[in-house]
């Protein structure tokens, strides 16, 4: 039986020619489009094997989920502020006058098959998307991957984070429910707080006063078309630069500034990353199936006369909300003008400084260290204690602002005075970064002296002898961490048949 199968397979392979069926099809494609050269370069792109290099992919794949679920939602969402009477399956809203935007979002949740799952997936994917961006950005920062020649890609990345936050806010506002309407109201007031031009700017962006009929349609086109297009373009540029400049790598045996050591795009990395895509998608779907997010039907429609206590924005806007909450109410009234510093400073100047510093960091570090060399080898965070400490302090500052956005929840949960929590957050927001800096600095300095710190650990095999004694035998270190002599794989100048025996572990080395 097996003999027959083997013969059949051999016959099939022979009929398919020397390149197999797929190879034949690809050859046909190459004859017409000349894809072989570019394709070969792409497939031979080397990805260094380190888990932290895949963090950005969480963001990439959750963005993909956002696009797919977002397209689904556009089929049913009506971006209109026209007033309709809601008649649907959610009884407490039955007969209420609501906007079409709100009514259609409730209908997506209750009447459209799979609509609520899609809505929740879209929202959870957004929370994960921005979170993954931050984690990816932290990896790039702490390992010094932003240094020359990659400053431009860092700038693109910070822009992507900004746009993601902006688009998240726009999307959060679209259902026109009570909570998000309050958010738009705050955004409108923040625009108004800009001296001299604030009123004009707010009217320009909102198409008149708030609440008004043009807000939802404008936010819709921004959220679904303009900002995503810019994001897609920038993601493309981000990835193009990644391929063009080749990947950074951690220092190790055989790794120099002149080479890249790792697995090729095809087949090793392709398998990993495709698997990762499915895991991200599956996990987001699971989360959305089991954890509720933004139940707008409970909030009811937005109305300027209504307000709910205890509302917060989505987490990525939390630091702004926190800054607004803890900033003292200082304002300037004179000459017939009011300059509300209590809104202007925390909501515009402070984020301006935070993102400005993020943009300027590669330049600032270059000026400070006078290091103008090209770097492809990464730093371990402990090797650059000052940079790491600055990063930790900045994260601590933003985290404290983020926590400050839930002062009321903290006060209610621990049953303490809201005023005490507010004052505690004011003090902690200044104090915690100042404490975090020296601690992070000291830890880095200490780690520099620890033998084997930063090397990946391998497991021990614990065995029991006949006498009952337990022995822990260490397993060999990772191949990369051992002193293998690696030779560069020559980049083929022509398409060749793959050798029969597979690469050992798929690790290759190519000249940059």
């Amino acid at each position: 039986m097996s003999d027959v199968t083997a013969t059949n397979q051999r016959a099939k392979r022979k009929a398919a020619g020397p390149y197999g069926k797929v190879g034949k099809a690809l050859n046909e494609l190459d004859d017409r489009l000349g894809v072989a050269k570019g394709g070969r370069t792409f497939m031979d792109k080397i990805f260094p094997d380190h888990w932290s290099f895949m963090l950005g992919e969480i963001a990439l794949y959750s963005f993909l989920i956002l696009l797919i679920t977002g397209v689904f939602l556009t089929f049913y969402f009506i971006p209109s502020s026209a007033i309709v009477t809601y008649h649907g399956s959610y009884l407490p809203l039955d007969g209420q006058q609501v906007t079409q935007a709100f009514s259609s979002t409730v209908n997506i949740s209750f009447a459209v098959r799979g609509g609520l799952l899609m809505r929740q997936m879209h929202h959870w994917a957004c929370d994960i998307f921005v979170g993954a961006l931050v984690v990816h950005m932290a990896r790039v920062f702490f390992t010094g991957a932003f240094r020359k020649p990659r400053e431009l890609n860092w700038t693109i990345g910070v822009t992507l984070l900004t746009l993601a936050i902006v688009n998240g806010f726009l999307g959060y506002s679209l259902p026109d429910d009570l909570v998000s309407g309050t958010g738009i109201r705050i955004a409108y007031s923040i625009l108004l707080s800009i001296p001299f031009v604030g009123t004009y700017l707010a009217f320009f962006i909102f198409g008149g006063n708030f609440p008004g009929a043009s807000t939802i349609p404008r936010f819709y086109i921004l959220h679904c078309l303009i900002v995503p297009l810019i994001i897609i373009g920038l993601v493309g540029a981000h990835l193009f630069l990644l391929v063009r400049q080749k990947h950074t790598q951690f220092p190790g045996e055989g790794r120099t500034e002149k080479n890249v050591v790792g697995s090729p795009m095809f087949p090793v990395f392709m398998a990993k990353t495709t698997g990762f895509l499915f895991i991200v998608a599956g996990f987001t779907a699971l989360l959305s199936a089991f954890a509720q997010i933004n139940p707008i039907w409970q909030f009811g429609p937005y109305d300027a006369s209504r307000i709910s206590y205890a509302v917060q924005p989505d987490w990525y806007m939390g630091f702004l909300d926190g800054a607004l909450r803890i900033w003292p109410s200082w304002s300037f009234h004179s000459f017939g003008h009011t300059i509300p510093f209590e809104v202007l400073v925390p909501a515009l100047i402070l984020p301006g400084i935070i993102f400005g510093l993020a943009y300027a960091w590669p330049m600032l570090e270059r000026i400070y260290t006078k290091d103008n060399e090209i770097h492809h080898l990464l730093d371990r965070p402990s090797q650059r204690p000052k940079r790491t400490a600055v990063g930790v302090a900045a994260l601590a500052f933003v985290t404290m602002l983020f926590i400050a956005s839930s002062t009321d929840v903290i006060a209610n949960f621990f049953h303490i005075s809201l005023n005490s929590v507010l004052w505690a957050m004011r003090i902690l927001t200044i104090l915690v970064p100042l404490i975090a800096y020296p601690i992070a600095y000291k830890i880095c300095k200490e780690m520099q002296g620890v033998h084997g710190a930063g090397k990946r650990k391998t497991h021990n095999i614990v065995s029991r002898t006949a006498e009952g004694e337990y022995l822990a035998t260490p397993t060999p270190a990772y191949r990369d961490d051992l002193g293998h002599d690696l030779e560069a794989t020559p980049v083929p100048t022509y398409i060749e048949v793959e050798p029969d025996e597979p690469d050992e572990g798929g690790v290759r080395i190519v000249d940059r």
């Binding site: 888990w51 809203l93 895991i279 509302v311 924005p313 987490w315 929590v421 990946r456």
Partner: protein
């Protein structure tokens, strides 16, 4: 002018000194202004309700029942007066005084208010929701807890205090069959959500005061709270009709209590705070672990 010139230095010193002289003065003036404010002096007494189609009086001419098809308000039965007096002396008199006329709250944060003329609904609400007798009479807030006294005992105390000076509002009993839950939802968003939150979970307000959760509250207590305005809560009398109060009560006791709430675990009704934590710790956290798992495979 240089920053170190004597004139600049002197001006700076004077301004600092001026601050230290004026700031305590400002605080003193503010405190004196605050001390004049007495919340019990506002017109809390004899707050009736509008649009009553039924009014029943007893032989002495006192109103013992009023209302309409949405809510009827009934006086506590006079036969409970003696029981009420005994219970009052046992549980309430130590703070509110033997004549229920209150004790001036000198040197304490809480006031022991005059109860006469507040109406039976007020007394009944505080006792029946377990807030009174208070756990800590000096605390700013008397939180809701398991009631010390039975509903009948609460009613008896209300009867005795009412017998001192008959007053309104009486004990309400809403007829939820005539209520419209959709109107209730809209009225709730308009009047209640600004403190109790739109999901009715309650939250911390300024200066150690809290708006309580609205879950597990009997319907008549919801009406009592709306009509009498306990603690920090405003009293809704003329601006909400009995029909509207009935609608809100229906919304609170059905939709807040058992929300039609698909979409998975509600994450404690904490909104974006809980969502953010789940999204970051569970969402991003798990995916980073997966990242480690995949990324470190050779």
């Amino acid at each position: 002018m240089k920053l170190t010139s004597p004139l600049v230095r002197r001006a700076a010193l004077w301004s600092v000194a001026g601050f230290f002289v004026l700031a305590p003065g400002a605080i003193f003036v503010g405190a004196a202004h605050g001390a004049n404010y007495n919340p019990t002096e506002t017109s809390r007494r004899n707050s009736g309700t509008p649009n009553s189609s039924i009014v029943v009086k007893n032989k002495a001419g006192t109103v013992i029942e009023y209302g309409n098809k949405y809510i009827t308000y009934t006086a506590p039965p006079a036969k409970l007066d003696n029981l009420g007096e005994a219970l009052y002396m046992e549980n309430c008199a130590s703070c509110h005084g033997n004549q229920a006329d209150g004790v001036p709250a000198n040197g304490t944060t809480g006031a022991y208010p005059d109860l006469v003329g507040l109406g039976p609904a007020t007394i009944d609400f505080w006792v029946d929701s377990g807030r009174m007798p208070a756990t800590d009479p000096r605390a700013i807030e008397a939180p809701r807890r398991l009631p010390r006294l039975t509903p009948n005992q609460a009613l008896a105390i209300a009867a005795w205090v009412n017998s001192l000076a008959p007053s309104l509002p009486l004990i309400p009993s809403p007829n939820l069959a005539n209520a419209n839950v959709s109107d209730g939802a809209a009225l709730f968003a308009l009047n209640c959500a600004s403190c109790h939150t739109i999901e009715g979970d309650g939250d911390a307000l300024a200066s150690s005061t809290f708006s309580p959760s609205l879950r597990h509250i009997p319907a008549f207590q919801v009406v009592e709270a709306i009509r009498t305005g306990p603690a920090n809560m405003p009293r809704f009398t003329g601006n909400l009709s009995d029909q509207q109060v009935d609608d809100v009560t229906q919304y609170v006791t059905t939709e807040i209590e058992h929300p039609n709430n698909p979409g998975g675990f509600g994450l404690g009704g904490l909104g974006p705070v809980a969502e953010g934590f789940v999204g970051l710790l569970l969402g991003v956290g798990v995916l980073v672990l997966v990242c480690y798992w995949i990324g470190e495979r050779q």
